[in-house]
Amino acid sequence: MSGSIQDTFFEECEELLEATDEGLTAIEGGDHDSEVVNAIFRAVHSIKGGAGAFGLDDLVAFAHRFETVFDEVRSNRLDLDEKLIQLLLRSSDHLSALVEVARDGGQVDEAHHDTLLAALDEYIPEEEEDLTFEPMGLGGPAPMMDLGDLGGAPAEPQEETYRIRFQPLKEMYGTGNEPFFLFQALKDLGELTVTMDENELPGFDAMDMAEAYLAWDLVLVTKETRSKVEAVFEFVEGLCELSIEGDGDAEAEANALAALDAMFSAPPAAETPEPDAGSAVPFEPPVPAPEPEAKPAAAEEKASAPKAESGKQEQRGGPKPTLRVELERVDRLINAVGELIINHSMLAQQIANLNVSDTRDVETELEGFKNLARDIQEGVMAIRAQPVKPLFQRMARIVREASAATGKTCKLVTEGENTEVDKTVIERLSDPLTHILRNAVDHGIEKPEDRESAGKAKTGEIRLSASHRSGSVCIEIKDDGAGVNRPRVKQIAIEKGLIPENAELTDGEIDNLLFAPGFSTAREISNLSGRGVGMDVVKNAVTGLGGRINISSAPGKGSTFTIILPLTLAVMDGMVVSVADQTMVVPITSIVETMRGSDDMINSLGADGTLLSIRGNFVPICDVAGGLGLYRESEQQAGVYLLVETETGQRCALAVDDIHDQRQVVIKSLDGVCGDIPGVAAATILGDGKIAMILDPESIIAASPTAAAFDTERRMSNAS
């Protein structure tokens, strides 16, 4: 059970960290509004509170220090200067790191942790520092409950008789404390006798309703410790006159007596001393303390309640009401809608097979069915859509870390934070974006002094933006750094044997070499990007999402990475084709044009290579069946070509047996069904219920010897 509460805690931490980040970003931007500061304070405070419940001591200690500094800020005892803001930003990053470690395990950078703690301490006045906060694990004993148990416990706790005199002051009644309840709590500890002392009660006429006249004498026989008895009165301490006298008067003495008793095996001191007062009664609910009776105002207040209600509505104009739903439920719905779309195409096919002369009415209805299915699909996908804002906020942190590690100063400017993208896309974008941004800081942005001498602002700017563009999402990362160092990139590519030495490449082709597998420009392994992954990993991640990535660069002005992603991952437009008696789907986005080939269009090149001539241009032919290791049983030959273009601008004609039609297909992941299949991206279910592979043209071309050979040849010929 506490497991699920802990999950809630980490979920909530995410939100609170976002709120903290958002607030700090606002402060960094000059908004020092007290509500912003308060919101951050509350967020950090909540993290601390929750962390305490799960015994996450490191997190508690750090959050506490962080929060204390914020308390100073909100009490106007500290100025938010640039230095402090930077410290707070780094502290917020570290707080996220601590949450991550608490959730996923791993190591905290101890040195960094201590540095930040020390830096925060400098802002905390001394008397605040020893403010006590003892973290305690969930289910641990309450401190006040076990204080008394600490002294070496004797074999059996012995009974003790306490005489308690309890006289509330009138202030106590204003706090909602009731003597009756305190007595009930005492009664839980042992045998209790209550005597009410009403000697001070004046005559009825002289009675002041607001005054406290009553006192009680209590006798409690209990095996519990004195501190437990005292704990009952914790809330009324200072609001009453209280004296508690034990038999032995001192705990130590009681223990000694108990020990003696045990030694001589004398019967325990069980005889309850008679209460002093003659009017002693066994515990019964005493007469409640005088209470102001008539409340003429009550009705009026009840009437004012609806007013408060409407006020509440006004006040909450801010966030729209939301519904938290388990992701699995949404995914079930998405699957169902996918089935609905498949079901539609099955129906359409069945009707077409019916051989009925007039199907116009049915077709109209079928069209309506299709539109409704699409509406539902869009609606469901919208549930999964989330703004990229949290992702972008994390990226701001990445840029700060990267800047600190490289000694550069850069700021991240974000745009289109409210652009909504499928949740999975957002999750899977995190790594590629992190990599691109680290690269931008590490290799793109120049050192401050170099920037100055180049006549640029000392602080580099990286612009991260998101927007919707006709059915896709466009993410752009633009830096104002030095741009791609093309001579250097080319040299490395030659050294690594990626291109021949005399290759003549266009600027765009050189820039795209960054995405080539095994390419990395870092001369020495730097702290940041030199982690053994290159931009090829970024590219794979983006294409894995069905997207594309491009780079453009201007020397001295900076580079721009553009990532284009499909809006949804569940459905795509595909071209249905036949390959070696199998029906397959090629994503429409990668197809430039389709054509039926005739023999005179095909030209041999070398032993196996064939080129397709299209309006005077020669494009290598890549046989899909061969690429997938499939063999045709029938006589049919590949006669239809799909002209596709790769990211590097390389064109290739995919040879397939036949083209059927273009339609929307529901993507079924092959994750967990089989291992990675070269050339295949996923699967779908067609109208006839059959499964079809969705092809990945890029990887088919990459594996094709003809295409690869021709590509090299083309570069060679460009060189000569």
Partner: protein
């Protein structure tokens, strides 16, 4: 022919009789505990998975889910099955995912006393050994009890 079999607790280890479904693969008798089987379907052509190993026949649409189909015969190192309409696909659940197993034909449901299960005698066929968790004698034929977890190891992750 879609014999839906409700799945219950996998491990029943007392001396009570358990029901097993016996079937033939490449002429040999095998069986699986009835609780391991989700359904049995008649073979229909599957969609070929490119570059798949010989014992993976392809994928099939099971009520909207894409499930892989294995050729048990090839898996056991016996000859590959020439799948036809007479063959059956036994759908089992491995690691929570449905998987189809191609067998020649289903024979019958047999009741087995766990005490009658004998250990597999050592033979010089590594593949088969791994996949068999015990043997029993039924109507004078030897029926091999398949160790499902060994036949279908956890599917690999595809995406990086």
């Amino acid at each position: 022919m879609q014999a839906e079999v409700k799945q219950t607790d996998q491990e029943v280890k007392h001396a009570e009789h358990s029901e097993f479904v016996s079937f033939t693969v490449a002429g040999q008798a095998f069986c699986l505990k009835i609780t391991q089987i989700r359904e049995i379907r008649r073979w229909s052509p599957v969609t070929i998975l490119p570059h798949a190993p010989a014992d993976v026949l392809g994928v099939m649409n099971l009520r909207g889910a894409v499930i892989p189909i294995y050729d048990l015969s090839a898996r056991f190192g016996l000859q590959q099955t020439e799948a036809s309409e007479r063959n059956v696909v036994i759908v089992v659940s491995v690691h929570g995912k449905p998987v189809g197993l191609l067998a020649e034909s289903v024979s019958e449901i047999i009741s087995i006393n766990p005490d009658d299960i004998q250990d597999t005698p050592p033979v010089d066929s590594r593949n088969t050994m791994e996949y068999i968790q015990g043997i029993i004698s039924h109507d004078d034929t030897m029926v091999r009890i398949i160790n499902l977890d060994a036949v279908i190891s956890a599917p690999e992750q595809v995406m990086p």
